[in-house]
Point group: C2
Chain length 413, copies 2
Amino acid sequence: MEMEKILQKVKEASRVVATLKGGVKRKILREMADAIEKNRDYLMEENEKDLQYARQANLSPALVDRLLLNEKRIKGMADALRQIASLKDPVGRVIDGWTLDNGLRIEKVKIPIGVIGIIYESRPNVTSDAGGLCFMSGNAVILKGGKEAKNSNIAIIQVLQKVLEENGLPKEIISLIPDYSREGVKWLIQQDKYLDLIIPRGGEMLIRFVTENSKVPVVKHDKGVCHTYIHKDADLKKGVKIAINAKVQRPGVCNAMETLLVDVDVAEKFLKELKQYMEEEGVELRGCEITRQYIDTKPATEEDWETEYLDKILAVRVVHGVEEAIRHINRYGSGHSDAIVTENYSVASKFLNEVDSACVYLNASTRFTDGGEFGFGAEVGISTNRLHARGPMGIDDLTTYKYVILGNGQIRE
Amino acid sequence: MEMEKILQKVKEASRVVATLKGGVKRKILREMADAIEKNRDYLMEENEKDLQYARQANLSPALVDRLLLNEKRIKGMADALRQIASLKDPVGRVIDGWTLDNGLRIEKVKIPIGVIGIIYESRPNVTSDAGGLCFMSGNAVILKGGKEAKNSNIAIIQVLQKVLEENGLPKEIISLIPDYSREGVKWLIQQDKYLDLIIPRGGEMLIRFVTENSKVPVVKHDKGVCHTYIHKDADLKKGVKIAINAKVQRPGVCNAMETLLVDVDVAEKFLKELKQYMEEEGVELRGCEITRQYIDTKPATEEDWETEYLDKILAVRVVHGVEEAIRHINRYGSGHSDAIVTENYSVASKFLNEVDSACVYLNASTRFTDGGEFGFGAEVGISTNRLHARGPMGIDDLTTYKYVILGNGQIRE
């Protein structure tokens, strides 16, 4: 019941934030950035409680590090809010418009989605980033962070809400749900009366749970099993450079390559060169049978083709042309980001058309699938949904649209 | 298991239809239209079986009429397919594009959604309309019609599938699910491995059932509780004309007006004139307390404000300005189509901005919310979703997008 009251207030608050002018939103976001910096000591104190708990609970050093708020990270949170304040306001943008024969003028106009629920884990900076992005796009947001970051998240929200109140706005525009039980999440994702969109960010378990139980539309940020395909007409030097970048520049992220496909015609030459570089970078290769005729690797199993390693491991498969490469990617991939390296126009066109992924690349590293790299300024994440938002999600993707129809007495005959 | 095999084949077929050129699709649609006309006698014979069953089951004459396929209606189905064949192919349309500082070229390109499930009742013409729209937009479709139209639907599908096969295409591009049980529907809407979108078209019960049980994204075609608000600065002549059109031109459809709101300052004058016309048209008025001080009507209850009559009944409420009108609409409306009649610029802007509906009108009848009227050529229906597709859904709304990124060796630093 208490949770439902919060949701009611958030819904009411969403009507208020939806009609704020861009200038007002920018001013408030900059004040929020200043407030985050001014409250640095308080935020670090509250964060220390979470860190102590994490250490006592023997969480891994990597997880403890993700929780940590230090001076630099707090500055980063403030800077992110200032960057969001500088984005173009998506609300009110006319995306299409025309006049009917009877003189009726139709405009298709971007509007906020309404109330967005974001369910995430660990990193406390997501709290201010997501709050800022939803605010700038005219949405109210309900944040459901991880229990391990409880004190940090509450402190951040308090700082942001104080700025909202100082500006005469309902603090529920940016809300935190204080229930960390599985039942609490399940209840939340079924409240289609109050919520218009759920964005889960986290592990596969969380995403599956949300997808299967939600009555609210979900835009998921799921795994990336990304491929690079070296076609026989590839510039092999570019191919090596792109493959290495896609694998090792940051192996632990969703747009890193997990499987390399290479045409049989160039397999021997390419794989021998690649192996050398990959060994220097400490990457473990797992090859198909044909691969292992050319280079010495561990054998790849069926499971390898569908695994997101997020690590310095690469599955390698030799294929017999673009058709087989496309079939492999559409079967085993996750529809995230996949690249072909070739100088052949017809083959490239075929690959780009027929690979069914959010981002398809020609002669470039899959590591560019990123809101920042795409020029969106700030990103909500990378959607693996087919509908609503696909690929890097910018602030524009936190809107929907309405039709505004202007007449002077038209009636239907 | 048999159903799952059908879905597997539909999924495979979706890869084929997705890559067909526009010219091929147009040719096949025109052949389908010809085939529908050539098979008129066969279609009418099969339809007669459904009609006999309907009469034996004592279905209402209105329902029996909706089932009927006569020469004129079969001609109508063929013409609809020819019209779809003349639409602009949405697949491949570049909706955005830019070049990054590093020279990477990004294009945002429309692509088919994949496999679309459409669940509908009675009218057999939906079978060919929906099949044609999905085909032209490069999607495979699974149709799940009502049991009462079983023989008609099977016959229509056979005719369409024969044309697909004659063109060397898998017939599963347009499929019919032959299971009419509730469990069958429930199973279908949970197959997110095979289906990318579900569109339910039908009564409230069906739509609620689908929304609550689906694991596949749903675009619903729900009810329309539409309002017309007569502001005190309205041109009252336009107001009367618009209100009458919105109520009586076709009362049984979702974009007809169900509630009239009128400012207290002009209520007496406006309502007295309106009552006369509405009585001539046989419309029953149900008024709020203030309304009944000016004209004699039945009293409106709380329930009336949220009822979609689909009939010659109109709820009438007197309000004290635009704020109250917006509050009423956002509380009781269904977010479908709502109109204001006024000559006042600021009031109109406020209404158009703050009413949270798919279509908001100034000085025009809500009856224009329709794919045909909007100029979409053919319509899938009118979506009451907030996301993906909102309002009249044209063939463009049966697509999603992918990012195509063209490089010449770019790697991420």
